[in-house]
């Protein structure tokens, strides 16, 4: 039995080597994978370089401030003209699956002014490029590997029938299950070898942190490939012609990778709308600028309710004082706190809805696992927004003593200013959940395939 299996595998290998089409297809997938790895690593390296360059922009800005205020300065001026950055460093795994890192900004320029008018500023993005999406390794696995598997397997049985070789094969002491098993087994070996090779190259090239994610990534890749082999097996079990198989398999691919995700997208947008964004931006402006027109005492009292520790500071006289200015800026943030929270919670709820719905499409689920491992999806961006918000709070904590106790801001104080750093972290729970769902999908497909294979009698001509 085992010996026959290996004989069949050997002849499959000879067949495979002779078939230029299959060789080209495999080679092409390999090249696409290598390009995906190259693209992902260069893109993430570029983000790293851009983040590193922000430090020198900040240093330059500090030099400029020191030149502008050579002696002691009013901290209010520094808070107004001096800017720092909140940065979202990529996880080392991000080069394998870039997720939403190209759409969402990975740094935010911050001044002491009200946060909500700064938090959502965008990076320079070419919209046509982000529409086309990233050609990263995750794309190669999620989209192209199924196509490779379909290309290798669509005529696994039908070609033998169409060439009239199946009866010949079956006249040998070989059962149909063994033939199908050997043919599938051979293709599984080729595809998995390719997938593992690409994954290992990507991990090495991207210099990923070696942790449990190596196993999780490889496990997901293997399961996902097995899923598509299962689909091909299922279709082969119908014992139809090559043309029917090709169309059906491509139809399934189209349905799972394009049509269902697009429909899910619509469903998510309709059931989980996030209308708060525009309202938020309009309302915070109204409150902040209204601050100029309100009596100062009223503004300060509202502010002291939040910061009782500054209640005893001197009464503001005259037309303008920085501490009053920053107080009404902060009141602007406080006025939209609920909206900002609703907005971010709405986005998180959207993501969670997708997590629940992704049972409907294995590719969406697998992309979700990859992004969760790489920490490159929406939740990680929302974590970054929260981290940036906390950083802005700490900037306020840093500057308020200067403003309220009227301590002059000295050159030495710049280096005590809080600096921000945030690194996207993987979401292993989501990844495990996704892998579990994937495993179930694989089992379902194989059980269905085996049942069909048993039920439908082989129509051997």
């Amino acid at each position: 039995m085992i010996r026959k299996f290996w004989i069949l595998i050997k002849y499959e290998w000879i067949n495979f080597r002779a078939d230029k089409g299959l060789l080209i297809l495999t080679l092409f997938t390999l090249l696409a994978g290598l390009y995906g790895i190259y693209y992902g690593t260069t893109e993430i390296d570029r983000q790293r370089r851009n983040i590193a360059a922000l430090d020198s922009i900040t240093e330059h800005n500090i030099e400029e401030m020191k030149a502008k205020y050579p002696g002691e300065a009013d901290a209010g001026d520094i808070g107004y003209y001096h800017s720092t950055f909140a940065v979202n460093h990529p996880d080392t795994w991000a080069s394998l699956s870039m997720g939403q890192r190209d759409v969402n900004p990975y740094y935010i320029k911050l001044r002491l002014l009200n946060l909500q008018s700064q938090l959502y500023d965008t990076e320079n993005i070419n919209p046509l490029k982000v529409l086309s999406g990233n050609f990263d390794l995750a794309f190669v696995f999620v989209y192209l590997f199924p196509l490779l598997i379909i290309g290798l397997c669509f005529n696994i049985l039908s070609v033998e029938k169409e060439q009239g070789t199946l009866p010949l094969l079956l006249s040998q002491p070989l059962g149909l299950p063994l033939i199908v098993g050997a043919k599938l087994g051979f293709r599984v070996m080729i595809v998995l070898a390719l997938a593992l090779l690409l994954s290992i190259i990507a991990m090495g090239w991207g210099r990923v942190v070696p942790d449990v994610r190596i196993g999780m990534w490889l496990g997901t890749v293997v399961l996902y490939c097995l899923f598509w082999f299962g689909v091909a097996f299922l279709v082969a079990a119908l014992h139809k012609g090559s043309a029917f198989n090709a169309i059906t398999l491509l139809g399934v691919w189209l349905l799972l990778t394009i049509v269902i995700p697009a429909l899910l997208n619509v469903y998510v947008a309709v059931t989980q709308p996030v209308p708060q964004a525009l309202e938020l931006t309009i309302r915070q402006r109204e409150v902040v600028h209204g601050g100029w027109d309100k009596p100062k005492r009223e503004t300060m009292e509202a502010f002291f309710a939040r910061y009782p520790q500054w209640t005893d500071t001197t009464e503001i006289k005259g037309r303008f004082a920085w501490r009053w200015y920053y107080a009404f800026h902060q009141l602007g943030d406080m006025a939209v706190e609920d909206l900002a929270r609703e907005y971010q919670e709405g986005l998180r709820a959207r993501h969670q809805l997708v997590e629940r719905l992704n049972v409907l499409s294995v590719p969406v689920n697998v992309q979700g696992v990859f992004n969760a491992l790489a920490g490159s999806d929406l939740p990680s961006y929302l974590d970054f927004l929260q981290s940036a918000t906390r950083h802005h709070d700490s900037l306020r904590e840093f500057y308020y003593p200067f403003l309220f106790k009227q301590i002059p801001f000295r050159h030495a104080d710049y280096q005590n200013e809080p600096r921000h750093s945030f690194t996207s972290s993987p979401d292993l729970d989501t990844a495990y959940g996704g892998m579990y769902k994937l495993l179930v999908s694989v089992l379902v497909v194989y059980v269905a395939g085996l049942v069909l294979f048993r039920l439908l009698p082989a129509m051997v001509k």
Partner: protein, 473 residues
């Protein structure tokens, strides 16, 4: 003869239940996409209209303020959706919807749909354009892959040719028959979609929108025709239907899945996009070398001061008949806007270089050609987005300068206290945005248009001529 072959293809296709089932699925998806597109269009449009109206009212009715306070208060530009963008969202989901317009600063367009979504959105959106660009070609492939191979496999090709018909005539007959079938699938969608489009209240049909719609349809018809001819041609190359089918599916995958992404990514790799932080820092640096709107100690401010004093023959700024603050602010705004505009154009140029790779790739790939043209007609392409950003920047500039002018003429030098009546703000026209003409939109995509027409000509001449080389066994 040719006519009867076309008729035979038409009728036998209609009898093919598998094809009819697929057609009905595509038709349903097309209708679903139309409904989804209209829903999303009207939701977003309403949201933005309400927001625009709100900020316009807020501006016109704001409190008595100092004009420079008003310049910092500023306004917002919310990008209205183009009338037929419901057919093709194009880049709209990836471009910002709102720009905050204030003095001294050019802000980014924020809150795009993509930023408010998880990575699910990257799988693509259900739009009419998606069905037309990707699914209908697949349907065409399914319809035509056996056009010639089946005649070979069943041995009917020899019989047909013995009737005195040439292979080319046969091919054209088949193409004519299939074109009618495709027309039958697409036409009901158009018939059903147009009442939806025209029945929406408050939407007057301008000639320009009609022209855009007409061109939109024409481009897709050419695209479908290219796929029909290509499929028949490929079918003639092979002896077996399944080989022809696999080849055609390979072409489809390459054109519709791999090449669009690869060309866009390659463009971004070749031309590096500067970060917004770096761009802002550069603008700031260059502006600082010039005049600073808030800083009177600058050299250029001094020159401006001397020039004004000389012009009016007075000794001090207080004696000037105009308010130096306003004048100085206007000069600063002019300078910083010019510097910003230079950098913005540089950035746009980089993006256009990146996009040009995709435009050139449309010579390899009719999908890209029709995608660009479709977005252009729907008003959801890159140029429309930049057009909006430029209009917003223009408005921002004129708003700031209008307020500087008021400060220069109605307030005294050094006066930071006086508040002007809120009636003053009512004289400013609110921001409005007009989608540019269809001709302008088409002019931006000449390359893609040439590519599409070239494809049409090539498949019809070179492609069909090669059919004569077909081996008949």
């Amino acid at each position: 003869m040719v006519r009867s072959i076309a008729q035979k293809e038409f009728i036998s296709t209609l009898r093919d239940s598998r094809f009819m089932a697929l057609s009905i699925i595509v038709l349903l998806l097309l209708l679903a996409a139309t409904v989804v597109g209209l829903h999303s269009y009207s939701t977003l449009q309403k949201e933005r209209e309400v927001a625009q109206q709100t900020v316009n009212d807020q501006f016109a009715n704001s409190a008595d303020r100092h004009p420079h306070r008003m310049a910092h208060y500023g306004s917002y530009a919310f990008r209205p959706k183009s009338s037929i963008s419901f057919l093709d969202f194009g880049l709209d989901s990836y471009t910002g919807a709102s720009v905050y317009m204030e003095a001294h600063r050019q802000n980014s367009a924020n809150f795009s749909q993509a930023q408010q979504s998880s990575s699910l959105i990257r799988f693509g959106e259900m739009t009419v354009a998606f069905v037309l660009q990707m699914l209908i070609p697949l349907l065409i492939i399914f319809l035509c892959f056996a056009a010639i191979t089946q005649e070979k496999e069943t041995g009917t090709l020899k019989i047909l040719l013995s009737q005195g018909i040439s292979l080319r005539q046969l091919a054209w007959a088949k193409i004519a028959g299939y074109s009618r079938v495709v027309g039958l699938v697409v036409a009901p969608a158009l018939v059903l979609a147009s009442p939806l489009l025209f029945s929406r209240g408050g939407y007057d049909l301008e000639a320009d929108v009609l022209l855009r719609l007409l061109l939109f349809i024409v481009f897709y018809l050419i695209y479908f025709f290219i796929f029909i001819v290509m499929s028949v041609v490929v079918s003639s190359w092979y002896q077996r239907s399944s080989t022809a089918l696999v080849t055609l599916l390979g072409i489809w995958i390459f054109c519709c899945v791999i090449l669009p992404k690869a060309s866009a990514n390659l463009g971004a790799n070749l031309y590096t996009t500067p970060t917004k932080a770096q761009m802002d820092a550069d603008v700031h640096e260059e502006v600082a070398k010039g005049i600073d709107g808030h800083n009177a100690h600058d050299q250029r401010a001094e020159a401006l001061k001397q020039e004004l004093l000389r012009k009016y023959g007075v000794k001090t700024l207080e004696e000037l008949p105009v308010n130096f603050d306003g004048i100085q602010m206007a000069a600063g705004e002019e300078h910083s806007s010019r510097v910003y505009q230079e950098h913005f154009e540089e950035l746009t140029g980089i993006f256009e270089n990146q996009n040009r790779i995709s435009e050139y790739a449309s010579f390899l790939n009719p999908y890209l050609a029709v995608r660009h043209l479709s977005m252009g007609m729907a008003g959801s392409d890159f140029r429309h987005y930049i057009h909006f950003q430029n209009r917003a920047e223009e408005y921002r500039y004129h708003l700031a300068q209008g307020l500087n002018h008021i400060q220069a003429t109605q307030l005294k030098y050094g006066d930071k206290q006086t508040r002007l009546s809120s009636d003053t703000w009512k004289s400013f026209k609110p921001f409005t945005y007009e989608t540019p003409s269809a001709g302008w939109a088409l002019g931006n995509h000449l390359l893609s248009l040439v590519a599409l027409l070239l494809w049409l000509v090539l498949v019809c001449t070179v492609g069909v001529n090669r059919i004569n080389n077909t081996q008949i066994t």
